[in-house]
Amino acid sequence: MKPTGTARAKGLAKASTGIAAFDEITGGGLPHGRTTKLLGGPGSGKTVLALQFLVHGATQCSEPGIFVAFEESPKRIVANAESFGWKLVDLQRKKKLYLMDAQPRYDLVQSGDFDLGGMLAAVAAKALETGARRIVFDALDVPLALLPDLPAVRREIYRLHSWLLEHDLTGVITLKSPADDPYFVNRQPLEFMQFMVDCTVLLSHSMVQGVSQRSVRVQKYRGSGFDESASPFLIGASGFEIAIGNTLTRSDNTVSTDRISSGIDRLDTMLGGGYFRGASVLITGFSGTAKTTLCGAFAQAACQRDERTLFICSDTSSAEVVRNLSSVGLQLERYISNGCLRMVSARNLTGSAEAYLVRIKALAIEHNARCVIIDPASAWSTSATDLSNQNVAGRLIDWAKRLSLTLLCTRMFDEMSRQIDGGPQLQISALVDTWIHLNYLIQAGERNRGLSIIKSRGSAHSNQVRELVRSHAGVTLTDTYTADGEVLMGHPALGKGTRRARCRRSCRRGPEASGRQARRRRGRARSAPEVTANRTRRETGEEGLAGAHHAKR
């Protein structure tokens, strides 16, 4: 369920966090003037989220903030946050942000009961001085743990509650979640804090098959609708980055009828013009079937149209890919140097499927790409659970469509039989618009590459299996010669002449006719004494045909 409309329309004012996806999940942000509880284990990102909330308030919403630090020294927090580029020192100087060191002294001597009145008084003074509207109490469980007994804890929580109400601040309290804090086992957990918090956000950080998975979930939000599912996130270069869950509406994007070239003319013809702009294309095939070549051809074609392209190679370094592609006549260096093409080597990108997705999005937006190539897209399936895998593929495609990016992914097939048990892995093929498959055809002692279009939505595409031929001059597809219903490729179909000559011959043939019969007729009519072919046929005992063949010639 997603809340719609602006936050204020519903009557409950919301304080934006500046994290786009989080604001979307909560319909505007955290409850304004109320208290939010942020729960999470160690290292789950509570401090980062809380701090980001304050920084956003200070920089974008004209709401200065106060950060009361019970567990870490403000100096350390500022230093740790440097990597996010939030310029905390600057904000402190301008009095937009104040970090209060409220760590209990290590040499504290305690005699009798105490309360947090002092702290609240100090904070009140600061709030008055700076005009703060947002406040964070980071690791509130620390001072509460010092209190002698449970009634004292409750009393202090009440005190905090009335204080927050009195001062009309948007408060965020971070606490260690019960499961992680053994202290909670002995004491009644601070669950009764529920009464005073209007919103509870849970952060979790778990390891799945050795890969870190972080997720955020809004558990409760009084007075507002919110997205109840957990959303994966990661802590990136500028703070929290949350991936939005599946959106039901994709109404914004306009569907294009433009066609763009795949980089291989004959493939464009087979596709009825080329790929649709904004389409998602999947190229599958065994290892070595030239998937990367097709990617390179697409990249080159895109750059020739001056369209910025992002090429993510997950298997090899980008330099190697460029070198390898140049051997088949695809020169990508010049596009890299003029900035049109950006190649990113993602081999060392470990992490969850989420992390992958977020990085790809960031890279694409940073480069202002119109075409995105991911080779191979199966790199993330080795980590993460199957569920998030499929989710990620779907979200990637959705996102690309929303931005009208043409997306080209490759995926390796280990074996066709994997379809049965490797369900989620292959469902990406159901999501894409165009699916091209490359395979090997072994005939007469040769291994040739065949390309076929398994599906292409919205296009009348060819159903032929073509041979993919690569040479120094470039990449192209040839028609396959057939003899008696058998598709021939490579030398069996060649006879005299080089491969290039055969390409030229097939190119000269004109628009393809439909059906194999026509092709076969043409093939027979044209072919020069196809010595090897004849030999093959003789071997299979079809001498009669050979004779007829010669006669026609």
């Binding site: 504290l108 305690q110 005699s111 009798g112 009145g117 002092g118 008084a121 100090a122």
Partner: protein, 96 residues
């Protein structure tokens, strides 16, 4: 070990709640008993002077700070546990 110098205390309390009253009473009693005519107590109400709390980094109340003689000692709480207080103040030997 007993000290001969004057004791100077600052007692930060939050308003006039129970904790504050207890701390004041407790400190006064200790001083009367162990440091007659040798003590000075300044009581600071952080609700009325919040800037003092900020400046002196007082977050828990009541808080007792012994300024003199050195070293500076901080004790948090209502001071109801007297032996601890005495020990911290170095007055343990003067137990009555």
């Amino acid at each position: 070990m007993s000290h001969q110098g004057r004791f100077r205390f600052q007692l930060y309390v939050a308003g006039d709640g129970l904790n504050s009253a207890q701390a004041i009473a407790s400190l006064t009693a200790i001083c009367q008993a162990h440091l007659p005519d040798r003590h000075e107590i300044e009581i600071v109400d952080v609700y009325q002077h919040p800037e003092r709390a900020l400046a002196d980094a007082i977050f828990m109340t009541p808080t007792l700070v012994k300024l003199a003689p050195a070293p500076e000692i901080t004790i948090v709480g209502t001071l109801s546990d007297v032996p601890i207080v005495l020990q911290s103040l170095g007055l343990a030997a003067v137990i009555v």
